[in-house]
Amino acid sequence: MSASRRPLPGWVEIGLLPLANIAMAFLLVGVIVEVIGVDPLHALKLLVLGAVGSSEAIGYTLYYATNFIFTGLAVAVAFHAGLFNIGGEGQAYIGGLGCGLAVLALDRYLPPLLVIPLAILASAAFGAAWAAIPAWMQAWRGSHIVITTIMFNFVASALMVYLMVNVLIAPGSMTPQSRGFAASAAVPSMQAALQWIGIAVAPSALNLSLLLALLACVGVWIFLWHTPWGYGLRTMGHNPEAAVYAGTNLKRMTMLAMCLSGALAGGVAVNELLGVHHRLVLDFAAGYGFTGIAVALMGRGHPLGIVLAALLFGALQQGGAELAFEIPAITREMVVVIQGLVILFSGALVHLPRPWLQALFARRG
């Protein structure tokens, strides 16, 4: 409506604007780093090298990105339906419960080709079920989904602690974690997979769940833009009255959107439990659900954008960890601040550089 909404060329909108946001965030980070007495350029170099400097670094970056793709997609699907799912965290966590239960029940009896798909389905189903409760409360009872999904994160966390400490803990273990999964339930690491086709890379946490995440991207893209349900879902998100007119049942569509969202969040459990920990552990989903909101916003709700944003956040996570390791003055908390600033500039302040870009392109055009 106002001057700030005037359109920019498409490539500026999806390419240059996010870059400008990131650049601004980094500029501010640089100032902070300078203030605490570290050379910003040196820190930047460490950050970049830490994220993409070696095949191991790249592996970790991609491993984090896998989680962010899942949660980013989860938030985006709900968002297209006009629903703000803040509960990706809890849905991923409960997805892990499903994953763990499936594996613990089956891994001794079935071959990998059956255990892994069943465990993936269980992750998705439990994640979906955890999202279905707030969805139901919103659709039939009018409880606002933002509030209920946040509360369900806490419920999930408490439930998991209880189950891990009292029920699922491995006999004789001192830490609250389940017995290790049998080898039949392990998603192969990327290193092993690449070695198999003759490419040698350093070992890292990266595993074939990345392919599942990319598959999910394609699936979400097809669903949202190429199926009648995706069409109905987007109609509801833009204009609920038009959706009713078109014959979409808003209650059922709310359920569908949230279940899908929760199922996608459940993907985190696949990456973490089947790919890395190989047992059910506490807090494996910590932080991914919330960062997923930023990933979805930055990726403009489009799977391609989400992949790019997930890569950025993956790189920040990995590079940040290296940075904290190399320079003691920069703590883990500082790294979180960096992430926070990127989120701030590309989320809340996303339109900040718009007037300058507009001026730039108005003069040209």
């Binding site: 409506m1 106002s2 001057a3 005037r6 097809i222 833009w225 190429h226 199926t227 009648p228 069409y231 109905g232 987007r234 109609t235 833009h238 204009n239 009255e241 038009a242 009713v244 007119y245 078109a246 014959g247 979409t248 049942n249």
Partner: protein, 511 residues
Amino acid sequence: MQELTADAAIELRGIDKSFGSVHAVRGASLRVERGSITGIVGENGAGKSTLMSILYGLYRADAGEILIEGRPVEMASPRDAIGHGIGMVHQHFMLVDSFTVLENLILGAEGGALLAGGLAAARTELARLAGEYGLAVDPDARVADLSVGEQQRVEILKVLLRGARILILDEPSAVLTPQETDRLLQILRLLRDRGVTVVLITHKLREILAVTDKVIVMRRGEVVAERRTAETDAQDLAELMVGRTVRFDLDKAPAREGETMLAARHLSLVDGRGVRLLDDISLEVRAGEIVGIAGVSGNGQTELLQVLSGIRPPTGGEIEACGRRVDAAHPVDPAEMRDLGVAHVPEDRLRQGLVPAFLASETSILGYQDREPFCHNYLMDGPAVGRYCADLMERFDVRPRAPGLRSSNFSGGNQQKLILAREMARNPKVLLVGQPTRGVDIGAIEFIRRELIKSRDAGCAVLVVSVELEEILSLADRILVMFGGRIVGEVAAGEADERMLGLMMAGARAA
């Protein structure tokens, strides 16, 4: 030259505006004298709204100058325009649905950190304006609960409340009844006599001729003619707009009625607060006839369409649509109604009929997204949808012919044509139409009415709801009048005239 600009409230010089490949306004220049009423007419998509949006600071012109009271000004935003005393009533409502009327009225002019003061002041001011201009609305009603007609009144009040000296109205009367429109025109005259400058965009030449001092005609982005109102007539203006002769009369053969396709028996609808919105409605629509529902907006027509199309279940009585019975215990959803062959052109196109953010091609299948040929094996066929939309655009002359353009970027009349095309193209058995030609230019009105009659002649049962008496009279074979949620009278088209219907619509005669 100098004095000339001095008494011009608005002068636009060489305004040019393109949206991507759409050249919406081409070097338009015009002058509006202070204290006058100037009409702007032109076909759908001629660029009227765009030109006025530039004047109001919503869009920035690619080239050209704006002069207010003879001085060149920058209109970077509506704030600037309001600062220069310009107020605009938009073609599409810009109200916050969940706010009350009063809250909407003070939006952007809250008058201090605490709302109470502003609200109280607005309430007295509103009472005054309502009394003075007869624009009565309940200040505490939620906008979402108001009818389209009432919402329009709030829009007009909002601008009046700001004390604008230059008032731009973009199709303000599109939803008003003839009586209400007459009242609006009186208000405009009153405002002019008090020195307010009025710019009136409308498709209704009757209003232009009744109230304006000067008319400006736009065609395809250009100002093509300017006439003193006293020196022109409807035929002349119509030809200037369309560039060809327009026929106002609609010759149609008598209806050949078939079986009853849609029937309502003792239908009632009571809302959550116990208000009776529909009261014992019985009606029948037969194949091959057009039944018109006349009435002042807000008398239950909106709800009747909602119930008949399956959007809301009735609370009492029953419907029989193409052989399917519907009542409170056996509700039907709009998708099922569509399956039965009941198509629906909703009254409020922006809220129901389309999704502004969708592409035109996506809008062209709203409600039909899961049917052949748009969808096979659960996958939608994008190219087929695009081709279908292009075909609809061709047949219904939707401009620009751009299936890939966002729906919100089409002019109001072209959005309407797209929705009509969508609902009529699939040869429904029953066609429910709300305000078929609201905001549509005269050339297109002629076209749409002919299409409706063609559907009728092809055996479709057509139910038209319109607040335009003239429209009902020219289209319908049988006319029902609604008042207070009831049907208060039925007249055969041949026996009806405007005065008699007008009286019934005001509730003067119960049948």
